[in-house]
């Protein structure tokens, strides 16, 4: 019988942590990109497009991420589409992230005063030009802190990918526990690793927020 030492557990968790980071990064970057499209659609003033995105956002905000993962993983299989746990997890987290992040950004865009729109309209700028040169640069500054703050939610969200068999930090913890029967040690280490990822992010977000408030 092999003897799992602390270091074996620790190193295996570290290896799995890479996948948590990879999944977080991909979900955050792709979610951000989709979220940006959603944002444009949401504030487009084109009725049906707005309604469509609102429906999309309501769905992903109004159902548990776990259900979204199941739906993608098992749902697509029903249609004969074999999706790997990695693909299903990436897709679900991307869509989920995009819904939340586009709403955060919409709040930032809508906090820019009407006077900015009117001044740029009066200067003959088109909607796209107004967004590009006047509204988004200002909204972006406001958006940095809550966006970084939300990235913490994405990191924690990746833990759910364990239930469809994707071996990231949480899943690796479960497997190591089954082999070693040392749940307290294993899950303490898992928690510490999540904390090591998330704490700097939320700390950074708080700092940014403070600096922005001070600048006003």
């Amino acid at each position: 019988m092999s003897d799992f030492t602390f270091w074996v557990i620790f190193s295996n968790l570290l290896l799995a942590l890479r996948w948590t980071i990879a999944l977080s990064l991909v979900a955050f970057v792709c979610g951000g990109a989709v979220g940006l499209l959603m944002l444009f659609a949401r504030v487009s003033k084109i009725g049906w497009l707005e309604a469509l995105t609102r429906g999309y956002i309501e769905f992903f905000q109004g159902t548990p991420l776990l259900m979204q993962l199941f739906l993608l993983f098992f749902g697509l299989a029903l249609f004969g589409l074999e999706v790997s746990p990695w693909l299903a997890a990436t897709l679900a987290l991307t869509l989920w992230t995009s819904a939340f992040i586009s709403e955060i950004w919409r709040g930032c865009v809508e906090s820019i005063s009407r006077g900015q729109w009117e001044a740029s309209s009066s200067l003959a700028m088109t909607y796209i030009e107004q967004m590009r040169y006047v509204i988004l640069p200002q909204a972006l500054r406001i958006a940095v802190a809550p966006t970084v703050g939300f990235s913490v939610q994405v990191v924690k969200g990746t833990a759910l990918a364990s239930v469809i068999g994707f071996v990231e930090l949480t899943k690796a913890g479960t497997m190591l526990n089954n082999a070693t029967f040392r749940p307290f040690l294993v899950y303490s280490l898992v928690a510490l690793m999540y904390f090591a990822l998330c704490f700097p992010l939320s700390f950074f977000a708080k700092k940014l927020e403070g600096r922005l408030n001070a600048a006003r």
């Binding site: 900015q116 009066s122 003959a124 200002q138």
Partner: protein
């Protein structure tokens, strides 16, 4: 043909009619001062002229182009109509010079060097050559408003609309802005100003318009109107003896 030709314009917000058939014409080189009580529709009229608001009936033509026309290119129209706001509305993330050059660059595709010359020229016109690199937050209210004027002028509009541009300023900063406007008037730029500065309207205006209850109630040469208002409403407004 007048530069701005306003014919029987009616505008409602929901059930409330704010403009009840306004007619007015403003010729090239006119300095039209619009006065009247708060809520009489002055801002609304001004905002209809550059298409910030729509109207339900009547017509507004700027340089022969109907603002609300089916085929009207609002972008073309707005290149000819500049606007300065009570609250300045400068772009806070851009310097004074960048505020001035943004629209020329983006809308008119003015090149970088030409844009820099333009910023210099326009900021000099409002007496702020030394503030080109300052952000709005680093400028006083009066300076911000002068940058806003330079920004509007940079598009070389045919007519400049000013909506109570000194009302948000501390009293000691009002004059520096009025002096700039006076200089523009002398240069022959067509101006339509909503103002509470009666002295200024009288001395600089070539035309006075008194808005009352959604109509251009009385209009004429400023001095004549101030000295001898024809309607009791204007008489009461300017506090002249009956």
């Amino acid at each position: 043909m007048p530069l701005v030709d306003i014919r029987d314009v009616r505008k409602s917000y929901g059930a409330v009619e704010v403009l009840k058939g306004v007619s007015l014409d403003i010729a090239q080189g006119d300095v039209a001062a619009i006065i009247g009580r708060s809520g009489s529709g002055k801002s609304t009229l001004l905002r209809c002229i550059n298409g910030l608001e729509t109207y339900q009936s009547g017509s507004i033509c700027v340089d022969g182009v109907e603002v609300a026309g089916e085929k009207t290119n609002l972008r073309e129209l707005r290149r000819n109509v500049g606007m300065v706001f009570q609250q300045f509305n400068l772009f806070p993330h851009l310097t004074a010079a960048q505020n001035v050059t943004l629209a020329p660059k983006v809308v008119n595709k003015t090149g970088e060097t030409q844009a820099m010359d333009l910023a210099k020229e326009m900021l000099a016109k409002v007496g702020l050559s030394d503030k080109a690199g300052n952000y709005p937050s680093q400028l006083s209210g009066g300076q911000q408003q002068r940058v806003a004027i330079a920004r509007a002028l940079a598009m070389r509009p045919k007519v400049l609309l000013c909506d109570e541009i000194t009302s948000a300023l501390d009293p000691e900063l009002v004059n520096e802005v009025l002096r700039v406007v006076e200089r523009l008037a002398k240069e022959g730029i067509t101006l339509i100003l909503v103002t509470h500065e009666m002295r200024f309207a009288r001395d600089v205006g070539t035309k006075l318009v008194f808005m009352h209850a959604g109509k251009a109630h009385e209009e004429g040469p400023p001095k004549a109107l101030f000295d001898a208002p024809r309607t009791p409403e204007l008489r009461q407004f300017i506090g002249a003896p009956a």
